[in-house]
């Protein structure tokens, strides 16, 4: 028996190294899948806000300094969070789902496209208005939750 085999088998026999049960890997897999879905939904929501909030703001002030206004109503921190989220999501999908068989550029392109299109479609639906109404009713004001307050 080789020295290495001896050491490894001794560690196993003495229970210094324990085999992880199958359930551990099933739970980890389920958790990672839930994590990917949750992150995807969050990033779609952020992208949706990145489209929706400027559109809301634009209706309020059009004039000679339109571009300056457009620039000022873009919720930059949401855009940055959204882009970071897309980056993180791409990284997780690439490394943990077997997507490595495809080119990274493809994965980035497909994930970004799906997220941006879904976020945009969500922003033009009445999802945000419904959400605002819901928050408004919860706060008893009926005027939305005020997350676009900074643009007024």
């Amino acid at each position: 028996m080789s020295e290495l085999k001896n050491k490894v088998m001794q560690s196993i026999d003495k229970n210094e190294v324990k085999m992880r049960p199958k359930s551990f890997f099933r739970i980890m897999k389920a958790l990672s899948e839930i994590g990917i879905v949750a992150l995807t939904l969050l990033v779609i929501f952020l992208v949706n806000l990145s489209f929706y909030l400027p559109r809301r703001g634009l209706g309020l002030g059009l004039g000679s300094n339109r571009w300056e206004h457009v620039f000022s109503v873009i919720p930059w921190w949401i855009v940055i969070l959204g882009v970071s989220g897309i980056g993180l999501l791409t990284w997780i999908i690439y490394h943990y789902t077997g997507a490595y068989k495809k080119r990274l550029a493809w994965i980035i392109g497909i994930v970004s496209l799906v997220i941006i299109i879904t976020g945009f479609l969500l922003s033009v639906s009445n999802f945000n208005e419904t959400l605002e109404k819901g928050f408004g009713q919860m706060n008893g004001r009926g005027q939305g939750n005020g997350y676009h307050r900074n643009i007024r």
């Binding site: 080789s2 290495l4 050491k7």
Partner: protein
């Protein structure tokens, strides 16, 4: 009848600790050679190899018997080799090659090595001078005789990228021998 690697892995999953001894018997030498070519350092190699087997045992239940067991265990060895490579920034063999390459009589030294049948050693040392990702692909393809698909699975790279790395790796090695007319070794 000789059991396949996959059948032995299933036996280990089913709780047969002794079957893991057979896994060690089958993979100790090839994994040792692979890790050594990656690290070029025997001490680190032994540590990385031991860690590889311990992790393989610990995580054996994550192995899917429908897939090739050797690719699964090589993936662990790949991760361990990279971990040890990053920990150890000292690469003696690399310095030696640089020394040879920059010496006044480098052609003479290398020719002598060839004459004494040391091409293999020379190549292995040159291998240690190229970036790890290219080195690994070359080791898998030419020393371990793995297919592009297997390398892709072990390294988590697209098959096309494996081909690209292989070609770049060969070019990197050729660069080392360019001035001393040793391309024919490659």
């Amino acid at each position: 009848m000789l059991l396949t690697d996959e059948e032995i892995a299933v036996m280990v999953q089913d709780g047969d600790k002794e079957a893991f001894g057979e896994v060690i018997d089958r993979f100790e030498k090839p994994l040792c050679a692979f890790i050594y070519r990656m690290l070029g350092d025997r001490e680190n190699c032994a540590d990385a190899l031991q860690e590889t087997f311990l992790k393989a045992y610990k995580n054996i239940n994550s192995y899917d018997p429908k897939r090739k067991f050797s690719s699964w265990i090589y993936r662990i060895a790949h991760n361990e080799a990279i971990t040890h490579y990053r920990k150890n920034t000292k690469h003696v063999a690399l310095d030696e090659v640089v020394e040879i390459a920059s010496g006044e009589n480098n052609a003479e030294i290398i020719q002598k090595k060839i004459d004494t049948g040391a091409q293999k050693e020379l190549l292995e040392r040159a291998l240690l001078t190229i970036p790890l990702k290219y080195r690994e692909v070359i080791v898998f393809r030419f020393y371990e005789d793995k297919s592009y698909e297997e390398i892709s699975e072990i390294m988590h790279l697209p098959v096309n990228t494996v081909g690209t790395y292989l070609s770049r790796g060969k070019n990197e090695i050729k660069k080392h021998f360019k001035d001393i007319h040793l391309e024919e070794i490659l």
